[in-house]
């Protein structure tokens, strides 16, 4: 019993000790002033005397910053402001002179020269020029091209260097800019030098192969990764991270894979490209193939990085984190993959597919630097149709161009101008003017040939004196044009075809199930195409169009199709008896031989056939439906 009592005592004692521990000590603890807990997670402390801390700069010190005289550029380094004299360009516009090349030149150099000569910036006199281009030649190793005359310390010079093995730095650059293929990041001077793509020898002069992308989203069966191989080919690889597909050292099972010989384009969603400079060639291949380039710590500057936002088309990742990169690629949201893929194609077609595009882009970048504030906005460079086709001289406001309305979900407002060309002086086409002016959307009627300044509206209705259109046809066509402001909307159509017998392109005005051109004798289009027609087309093509009137139609259609990559739009036309051939060309529905030549010369001038065929016509919603005529808005369109 005693023991029992003793035990109870012990129990009670221990219990009360525990109670004290639990209850009293914390109270005591609270009474003790807080001591900072040594390893407790804290973040940055809130100091008691935050308010008393001094500012990093004393009032007065900032604005009173000691004045300093103007400084000359240091260390021989150059940047745009210090080494380029833009005043000459600002007064006379960018004019480019190419130093004559002494000695034999290679085919690729010839292409470069030809493409610069075809540029609207080219000039034949060095006095007029504000940019002098110097082509660095392929010379035996160790030697360098001689410094040209009028070198002038390299001032306002651009040295073009397209070869991966550059001339050693013995060449005194002076103040010259360097446009080099895939320059190393260490020597590249941003905002001054221009990074060019590393082009293969056989790159076409103009036109160029179109992008390989045939569909927007990757086909479900396509492998995720292709890997650039040293010998120039591509290897598609499985995506199992344990096999580290791009590391030659791990010789484990690489999963299903295929090796493709060099020259073929990769067929995968992502293309892994190692960072060494020779691999830059793979970059363009991936771009053309619509395979999203994944660059592993590139040691070279991406082409035209000054203006092209590569984050929209490629992924630059750290080669030291391969598994992370792989995981990120596998988990990339579909929306991003779609956007990247499409951007690769757009960039390829806009800036890289031909030598001409590459050179014109180079000049356009320099032009942009001269323009300063009124240069291309980033959006113009990085969304279709690209900066070579959207000229900032036309307008700096994006809504003045035909291309961006649909991207923004808006439509052009305002009315249209009718433009009637009258071939020979004679009776003014009064009936036509009456019909057109009857449209409430018509803002002005003018009868001059391409009077840029006089046209104040975005839309132009181009007519010739022999056209006959009704007011309601014009109204409906204008409404359709507002929905498709970047395309031509016309009444009469032609179709082009490949003529096996003649071995060339042909076209026909016969009515068919397809069409690819609309006649400018009755068509709506955006006023910007006048600017583009005059400023971006090669002179030779415009001369051709001037000589053969039929060619104007073809050239205009070529131009719009090359810019939009889309077919024109046909709207219903009441006059069934109207002959689709322009009245200026007498003869039957078959165009004359000269006109047939025209389409082939155009195709040669563009380097490819840009026309796209369409199989549809846009009609009013109730067109020729067996419903009450009173319901229909465009009744008169249906009159026979």
């Amino acid at each position: 019993m005693q023991s029992w009592r003793g035990k109870s005592l012990w129990l009670a004692l221990s219990a009360s000790w525990l109670l004290i521990l639990l209850r009293v000590f914390p109270l005591l603890r609270l009474a003790v002033p807080a001591r900072p807990w040594a390893s407790a997670p804290q973040g940055w402390p809130r100091w008691l005397d935050t308010e008393l801390l001094p500012s990093f700069s004393q009032p007065g010190e900032l604005p009173e910053d000691a004045p300093q005289p103007p400084q000359a550029p240091r260390g021989g380094g150059c940047d745009w402001g210090a080494c380029f004299d833009a005043s000459k360009c600002r007064t006379g516009g960018l004019k480019v002179f190419v130093h004559p090349v002494a000695g034999p030149i290679s085919a690729s150099h010839r292409k470069i020269l030809a493409s610069i000569e075809s540029s609207r910036y080219h000039t034949a006199s060095p006095e007029e020029a504000c940019l002098l281009l110097f082509l660095s030649l392929e010379v035996p190793a160790g030697e360098c091209s001689p410094v040209p005359q009028q070198w002038n310390g390299g001032r306002n010079h651009l040295v073009l260097d397209l070869h991966p093995a550059p001339c050693p730095q013995t060449f005194q650059l002076g103040r010259a800019m360097v446009a080099k293929a895939s320059p190393t990041v260490d020597t590249f001077r941003p905002g001054f030098d221009v990074a060019l793509p590393l082009l293969p020898e056989a790159h076409p002069l103009r036109g160029g192969a179109p992008g390989q992308l045939r569909q927007h989203s990757p086909h479900p069966g396509v492998p995720l990764l292709a890997l650039a191989e040293e010998r120039g080919g591509w290897r598609t690889a499985g995506t199992d991270p344990s096999t580290c597909p791009w590391d030659g050292r791990c010789e484990q099972d690489r999963g299903p894979e295929q090796t493709h010989p060099g020259g073929t384009l990769p067929n995968a969603t992502f293309c892994l490209i190692p960072g060494h400079r020779p691999d830059a060639l793979h970059f363009l291949q991936a771009l053309q193939a619509g395979c999203i380039p994944v660059l592993l710590s590139p040691r070279w500057e991406l082409p035209f990085s000054e203006v092209i936002d590569w984050t929209k088309a490629a992924i630059v990742a750290d080669e030291r984190l391969p598994f992370q990169v792989l995981a990120a690629l596998q988990e990339m949201p579909l929306t991003r993959v779609l956007a990247l893929r499409q951007q690769t194609q757009f960039l390829w077609d806009a800036y890289f597919s031909s030598v001409e595009k590459v050179m014109h882009t180079t000049l356009e970048i320099i032009q942009d630097r001269i323009f300063g504030a009124s240069a291309h906005a980033s959006l113009l460079w990085n969304s279709p149709p690209g900066a070579l086709l959207a000229l900032p001289t036309f307008s700096t406001s994006l809504s003045d161009f035909p291309f961006y309305h649909l991207q923004w979900g808006s439509r052009p407002v305002g009315r249209f101008s009718a433009l009637i060309w009258v071939g020979a002086p004679g009776q003014p086409p009064l009936k036509l003017i009456q019909a057109v002016a009857g449209s409430q959307n018509c803002a002005q009627v003018s009868d001059r040939f391409f009077p840029h300044r006089a046209i104040s509206t975005d839309a132009i209705l181009s007519l010739d004196a022999h056209s006959s259109v009704t007011t309601s046809e014009v109204d409906f066509a204008f409404l359709v044009w507002q929905s498709f402001p970047e395309r031509m909307v016309g009444f009469l159509t032609w179709n082009h075809f490949w003529d096996e017998a003649q071995g060339g392109w042909g076209y026909t005005a016969e009515r068919a199930n397809e069409f690819s051109m609309v006649l400018t004798s009755a068509a709506f289009y955006h006023r910007y195409y006048h600017t583009l027609f005059t400023h971006s087309l090669p002179k030779a093509l415009r001369t051709l169009a001037d000589e053969t009137p039929t060619c104007v139609d073809i050239l205009m259609n070529f131009l719009v199709a090359a810019v939009t990559k889309l077919p024109p739009i046909k709207v219903p036309y009441g006059k069934q008896h109207f002959e689709a051939t322009p009245p200026l060309v007498p003869g039957g529905p078959e165009p004359q031989p000269t006109a047939r030549d025209c389409i082939n010369q155009m195709a040669a001038g563009f380097g490819y056939m840009p026309l796209v065929s369409s199989r549809l016509r846009l009609d009013p919603v109730l067109f020729k439906d067996p419903v009450s005529v009173l319901r229909k808005k465009y009744r008169s369109l249906e009159k026979p």
Partner: protein, 734 residues
Amino acid sequence: MGQVYLEREEEAACVIMCASVKYNIRGPALIPRMKSKHRIYYITLFSIVLLGLIATGMFQFWPHSIESSSDWSVEKRSVRDVPVVRLPADSPIPERGDLSCRMHTCFDVYRCGFNPKNKIKVYIYSLKKYVDDFGVPVSNTISREYNELLTAISDSDYYTDDISRACLFVPSIDVLNQNTLRIKETAQALAQLSRWDRGTNHLLFNMLPGGPPDYNTALDVPRDRALLAGGGFSTWTYRQGYDVSIPVYSPLSAEVELPEKGPGPRRYFLLSSQPAVHPEYREDLEALQARHGEAVLVLDKCTNLSEGVLSVRRRCHKHQVFDYPQVLQEATFCVVLRGARLGQAVLSDVLRAGCVPVVIADSYVLPFSEVLDWKRASVVVPEEKMSEAYSILQSIPQRQIEEMQRQARWFWEAYFQSIKAIALATLQIINDRIYPYAALSYEEWNDPPTVKRGSVSNPLFLPLIPPQSQGFTAIVLTYDRVESLFRVITEVSKVPSLSKLLVVWNNQNKNPPEDSLWPKIRVPLKVVRTAENKLSNRFFPYDEIETEAVLAIDDDIIMLTSDELQFGYEVWREFPDRLVGYPGRLHLWDHEMNKWKYESEWTNEVSMVLTGAAFYHKYFNYLYTYKMPGDIKNWVDAHMNCEDIAMNFLVANVTGKAVIKVTPRKKFKCPECTAIDGLSLDQTHMVERSECINKFASVFGTMPLKVVEHRADPVLYKDDFPEKLKSFPNIGSL
């Protein structure tokens, strides 16, 4: 802070629980042969003692776990009380900065490890006071701004207190202003940081680099491989892709209230507000003023101010006194001229005033130029061309100027406004370099929020006409109308471009017919069984869909001809980013009821197509299933209606484009199948559909549908032309 302690509390609870559990298991083994009465006693006693011991052990943690209030969790100390570190005169000095550093050479990316959230972890060294051998402090312990900066980092998602998990280290040694520190000793202080390791992955913030007489454009403190977030970099010292160019913070941002002023023409065209300008530049500016009169205003510091007026806040022109920075709001363009340093705090003031900065500082690397498009908010004029500045500015159209003013103000709000904004933008830039696939886009950095909301971004923006050979996949949603379904399958299989047929069997109670009973067709036919009878199943992105084009078709649509369907596919190829359907519908604004109304009358306009038969890109299935805003998907499944209206809204909202209605088709109901209860059914149907439109419009926050007045017909439709020569002679009727 509170959260951290909560975790610890749980930890403590676990220790107690785990321990008692252990005891209970082991108890019988420890005291095996005791009488049960004694056993209970000993067990109780033992557990009490054990609990007591544990409680004592946990003693240290108690106050923290009981007190979750901030008083206990946040350290309240004075900066004067921080530990003092004595730097011996011969302690190591880091190498000078390596100009060839790039992320892939000097940055240890392994420390950033794999992080599913794609966010770097930043550690901040604790604050110390550094003194030399003689006890003389190396620098001011910390400035108000640097304290703010570290607080901002510490409060952000980037912060970690675990030095071993950190990817980026920020010393608490304040180097914002080079003039307030001793260069060699500061460098020694940096070198003795616990994880310094030649400065790898260390980030220093500096706003005022250099000192007299030559004012270097980068911090002179030797720092080896450390990254430098510097204000006032020139192209010669800036390591592209490694350093970050940051603004020089203007203390006026916090001190002065300045209500926003919208863009538009202002009193002065060009204003120069900097008081200390080199005489040569001042001459140029005054020449400009002389030439252009009232339009140009050149201010200087005031010399004749009475005592007590802050001279920082006043500027003078001759005897006229102006308030600074208020005067900046009176000008369209404001000169930001370099002084001894390239980076000037006035840039921040100018942007805030919505004045377009005219930056005259050759080779200056503008703040955050790696991500910000300064062409949209500023004009850069070479120093040599200062006299031409006026004419350069004059050539900018008014519309563009207003755009630039808006952009300037937005840059200030987003990236200049506070030390916090500067710190977070800097970390974001470094984060973007390390996780480039998760980086912010150009638009996210540069577009003001108003633009971001208003713009659509078409996911299929590339003009591309898919090849005809690809064909389309028809998806038939069915419940149990097998007979009608088989007729649809037979009809659709006649369309030349059909490449696969997918039947979505939405009936969970009934099995689909046996394989042998299905019609034999020339293309693969797959049956997908669903888990639930939901309308949304029609728009699920099934793996079986291999083509881009999808034809959604109901199991009772047997009236469409093969020509009609083939033509629909051809039209889709020309408009792959749109919904291409047959009967069109319209939404109208009902002025009486003040809401949207659904219209199925035969009108001249169209804004929707029915998806009882419609072609669209399969990507929209993905969007519908995973990216449909709000509760629209559930609403559709609950109401068993309006999935087509939802699809029309979704596509129009993301592409900003109208639908394409093809062929004259106006309705799906065949003449012979009359509705059971025609009129009333029709009316409730219309009410329900109108309700859907209003509901969706409120969820989308806008009415995305676009009204058009055209439809697509074959080129020779109803033309006077031999029918047999037409590609699509049998285009069907209404």
